[in-house]
């Protein structure tokens, strides 16, 4: 189970690793997440964590490196979603769902094979919830390097991505290939999500991707501001969560602390709810339209 809170287990080592890897994951997720939220691809961002973990469990079965499994499955899943029709705004969630469903079926098989082969007890939980404290410090360079690549890709396509996210027609009129930009973004999303789900678990991966970005987009008045604010929110929530989780070990007599992901997610959730407060006053008229599918980036457009 989550037996990471053994008494005396804490030298500062795991905590340091958690702080570093958490910050890296939070930064990349925040940057990619802002675009994911603006483009209405939150579902894809979440589904890719599940697809990635399917790859992770498949890697267990095949005995290959989990990193290859996670990243490979995420990239393959992103490609499949694109192929099924993720680039059409109205069909996105459905395409995502179809790919997710197929991946889930495979996950059922892989986890079944994992558990029957007996090699990986606790695989289901580890894969779902992961833990930032159990990350090996040797993975930091890989994660950092791939994160830099992801950020670089986003920076490279920043302007076309921005334009195609807010106004697809305008972007098309300027000669931007929506297909290429969309696919590149999906790949960046896949790498970011694959990395963060192996490093910090799939739950936390989605939380860091969507939460800070959604909160920042409600507060900031420009996209740049939203990007910065999302990074700050993500890193602060991650570090506070690590701190609380460390402390929580002393809160109960059962000598069983609470998982760090629970704290980080709770902090992010509270931050999102709090970000709604001023919005409530300014934009009370925005009811109804958000009821289905998801609005596409109208909010930032009107304030940018």
């Amino acid at each position: 189970m989550h037996a990471i809170f053994e008494p005396g287990f804490f030298s500062s080592g795991p905590v340091h690793v958690a702080l570093v890897i958490g910050a890296v994951a939070a930064l990349v997720s925040a940057v990619v997440g802002v675009f994911a939220v603006v483009r209405g691809q939150s579902f894809a961002g979440h589904a890719l964590t599940d697809v990635a973990t399917t790859g992770g469990s498949g890697a267990f079965v095949l005995g290959i490196s989990p990193l290859v499994g996670f990243l490979g499955a995420a990239i393959f899943g992103a490609g499949a979603m694109d192929l099924v029709g993720v680039q059409r705004v109205r069909g996105r969630d459905l395409a995502t769902g179809v790919v997710l469903g197929a991946a889930t079926g495979l996950a059922a098989l892989f986890l079944f094979l994992d558990t029957t082969s007996g090699a990986t007890t606790g695989a289901t939980q580890t894969i779902l919830f992961g833990s930032i404290f159990t990350v090996a410090s040797s993975t930091i360079p890989t994660v950092a390097a791939l994160s830099v690549v992801t950020i670089f890709v986003i920076a490279f396509i920043y302007r076309p991505l921005l334009l195609s996210s807010f106004s697809a027609d305008l972007a098309a009129a300027r000669g931007i290939s929506l297909r290429v930009v969309g696919l590149l973004f999906m790949l960046a999303l896949a790498v970011s999500v694959g990395l963060s789900s192996i490093a910090i678990g799939s739950v936390l991966s989605t939380a860091l991707l969507i939460g800070p970005a959604a909160a920042a987009l409600r507060l900031a008045t420009s996209l740049r501001g939203a990007l910065v604010l999302a990074c700050v929110l993500g890193v602060v929530a991650t570090w506070l969560g690590v701190l609380f989780a460390y402390d929580s070990f002393y809160w109960f007599s059962k000598s069983q602390g609470l998982p760090v992901s629970s704290f980080i997610v709770a902090l992010i959730f509270v931050a999102y709810l709090a970000s709604g407060m001023p919005v409530l006053r300014r934009r009370g008229e925005r009811s109804g339209a958000a009821g289905r599918g998801g609005p596409r980036g109208t909010r930032v457009e009107e304030s940018a």
Binding site: M1, H2, V37, G40, Q41, S42, F43, H46, D50, V84, R90, G91, D93, L94, T96, G97, V98, L100, G101, A102, T104, G105, L106, A107, A108, L109, L111, F112, T115, T121, T124, Q125, L128, F129, V203, A207, I210, G211, A213, A214, Q256, G257, L258, P259, S262, I264, V265, A266, I268, F269, L280, R286, S287, G288, A290, G291, R292, G293, G294, P295
Partner: protein
């Protein structure tokens, strides 16, 4: 294949498939794939919590599913619906992680909540599943026109005095009901698969709503029965077959739609993307 424990599986599977076909049809039509994924998945955390405090897991499932439905419905009125759904989902899963960390949950139990345990359905489980199924299908029947109108023509619906956000919340509650009964049987992850694949495929084959609904149920039933038989023969998890067959239906549907666009009458339009 029809020994006593399999009879329960056939019964439960059939009920689940019918409900998934009916509810899933509107999930696909309304583009509610994300909530349909988030509600069962989040409800899983409720079962973990119920285990921790020693309550029937069904109660935990129901409370969390309902809470998720109402929460998503309410919060998405003043935020981006998909971001809100994602956050609600991870919040519930984070609670689930906290519950699990405090209990000494047995690994296979978690696996079965996520991926189902249809071959282990007891006959005492059939009745509650059946009752909830009837309630869900009846609710859809009562709301049929309203669901259709708010999905296809929200402006007309609004002009007629329907409140789309209210209909959406009620629909999410229906998903929650369908979820509560199906998670212990087919698992949180697979009920989603069953609610997406067959209905999405059905919409590729026909444009007529009533017929598509019927085809959707038929595909869901075929998926479920085929999966049960395959699982019985191979001893592999049912979930794998449900996922594979559902995806297979969808691929078939897309192939048919492509072929039909090329060879069929020009009047027929593929409305899958809606």
């Amino acid at each position: 294949m029809f020994s006593s424990f399999m009879v329960n599986a056939w019964q439960a599977g059939t009920i689940v498939a019918v409900v998934a076909g009916v509810v899933g049809f509107f999930v696909v039509l309304r583009g509610s794939a994300f909530p349909a994924h988030a509600i069962p998945n989040g409800a899983f955390a409720g079962a973990a919590g119920a285990n921790l405090i020693g309550v029937n897991p069904l109660v935990g499932l129901g409370v969390f599913a309902l809470g998720a439905a109402l929460g998503i419905g309410r919060l998405s009125r003043r935020g981006r619906a998909d971001a809100v759904t994602a956050l609600a989902l991870v919040m519930m899963l984070a609670l689930g992680a906290a519950f699990l960390s405090q209990s000494v949950e047995y690994e296979p139990q978690i696996f079965s909540l996520l991926f189902g345990e249809i071959l282990g359905v007891s006959s005492s489980q059939i009745l509650p599943v059946f009752v909830l199924a009837v309630v869900c299908v009846l609710s859809v029947a009562v709301l049929y026109r309203r669901l259709l109108l708010t999905s296809i023509a929200p402006e007309i619906a609004a002009a007629r005095g329907l409140r789309p956000e209210r209909v959406e919340t009620i629909f999410l509650v229906i998903i929650a009901g369908a979820t509560t009964m199906t998670v212990p049987v087919v698992g949180a992850l697979l009920i989603f698969t069953l609610m997406i694949g067959p209905p999405a495929a059905a919409r590729c084959f026909t444009n007529r709503t009533g017929l598509a609904l019927f085809v959707s149920v038929a595909f869901a039933l075929a998926t479920m029965w085929g999966s049960l038989a395959a699982a019985f023969l191979t001893n592999w998890p049912v979930g794998f077959f449900v996922g594979t067959f559902s995806f297979g239906w969808f691929v078939l549907g897309r192939l048919y739609a492509t072929w039909h666009r090329a060879h069929g009458s020009p009047k027929v339009r593929v409305v899958l993307a809606q």
